[in-house]
Amino acid sequence: MNSIRQDWFSNVRNDLLAGLVVALALIPEAIAFSIIAGVDPKVGLYASFCIAAVIAFAGGRPGMISAATGVMALLMVTLVKDHGLQYLLATTILTGVLQIFAGWLRLGTLMRFVGRAVVVGFVNALAILIFMAQLPELTGVSWVVYVVVAAGLGIIYLFPLLTKAVPSPLIAIVLLTATAIVLGLDIRTVGDMGQLPDSLPVFLLPDVPLNWTTLMIILPVSVTLAVVGLLESLMTTSIVDELTDSSSNKNRECIGQGIANIASGCVGGMAGCAMIGQSVINVKSGGRGRLSTLAAGVSLLLMVVFLGDWVARIPMAALVAVMIMVAIGTFNWGSLRDLRTHPKSFSVVMLSTVVVVVATHDLAQGVLVGVLLSGFFFAHKVGMVLYVRSRTEDEGRVRTYKVIGQVFFASADRFAASFDFKEVIDKVLIDVSRAHFWDVTAVSALDKVVIKFRREGTEVELVGLNEASATMVDKFAVHDKDGAEDMLIDH
């Protein structure tokens, strides 16, 4: 009871105000993202309302804003183009189901493999994609559009110097819309882009045939959407955790995202996820509780339904200005400065994530590449921790090799190359008691070394192999038992 009161009603006034600010900032974004996905603005607006309202109850992170997002929109483009809106709605529902499944399997913990470099790359790539998605609105248009965009950006960034009581993106949109109407500017408006909502959303199941062909069409897209949605949501969760100095329930968030997407698909909305920019705006405006998220969703819907005629007259150029602000705000500018000071491996992982995402327009692939690369770099680094020293004993008849460090797939070759097989000697003693043999590759490398020595007619004795191979955790499974850390340190 206490936590319900704390989550919902401990910050009512600030939550309601912040929710309103977020709703005002969400409207242009929801419209812009629908246009990116190639659907009517109402799809994004219904989705934003529905996801925000549902996640307020089902989410694991109070105060975080989820709605229709650019990341998700970019992944739907081809599907919408080839198969149409109904398939998108079915995909959205399936995405939700997959996300609930992921939350139930506690896959949120896999986030620990996504390192800082990949996260920074993801965020930067996201910002670049949002910016690139605005380019079609800016190419082959009259100079008036550029003036409007520039004026919009000017108002957005300069108005807060005057007062921070009113959202500056809203001021920009209102002023630019009014100017466009008064001067009768001939530029594209939101109304030209498709249908706006004229009623409250209604429950509808997607009109698709329920068969194998449909599943094969929607499953690949759903998997990518589910993965990317959870990635961005969990990343945003930790950002909000950090900002508000409080903790959240990651698995509940996964399940909540799933429920929200299912609900969105059922009222004719597209899939969405948590939004970094909007969550920052919410926290900045004082929103902390679940009420702020709910307020954002509900006020968005009310404004859109009752002001629909006016929303239709917003010039697209004003929206472009807002989206450029979002892109600039999302980009991690500090990471550019840090390129010089951070380790090269960090920069390579970050930049490859960005490049792959921008090239494929798929954040999931970028993250995969980033995670794999960080794995390689880490393996390489740890593989360097291997020393083999040797000295002769017994008047030159015996040579003792002492192996210290980590032997596994990345260092097995270096390990094998550290022995002098050409040496003419009676006996070789290999002391591996202070080495760790992590995998089969390491053990077979040792086997090869022994065989090679024997071929030269050298007698081989191994010391401490049992301790060394105790770290082959898959086989012996000692890593999670008591005393495993002693075994690692002792020898």
Binding site: A18, L170, I239, L243, V280, R288, G329, W333
Partner: protein
Amino acid sequence: MNIENKVLACVDQSHFADYVADYAAWAARRMDAPLEFLHVIDHHPEIGSGKDHSGAIGINAEKNLLTLLSTEDEASTKAAREQGRIFLNRLRERAIATGAESVDIRQRHGELEETLVEQESGVRLLVLGRRGEAAETTQRDIGRNVEQVVRALHKPILAVTEGFKEPERVMIAFDGGIVTRVRL
């Protein structure tokens, strides 16, 4: 000093604090136990401070916001800490003046209930006001915190009211159950 058997007096900055101090000093004197004053500073991440409704996210918005919020938190925590320290020291003087011998003070961050559960093992008697800071303005007879603490702890608790008067008689609530029989 036998820290395992201390009298722990929980105080907040309400007018009950003085009476809690008086009773706790009396109990410590009678039980010949060390006395410790505990002041828990609440941390409220669920309450936002929103002055900026600009809705604009500029360059490095996230980092700037994090810096801003942590600086604000730092300042308010420092102020609360200093205020609490002065307040606790005043109570300590008061307890020493009434004859308590070993008096210590301690400030903790967090929630009252969980802090007390952590500290429970070393406590012989817990003294707290029947109502606290939060109940100053309401009509409750027993503060919300008191109820939670009584439910959560397994140590003797002395909940005090306004005005200090040395206890003379003891009344035991007896329902004939096993637990109360053992206690008798």
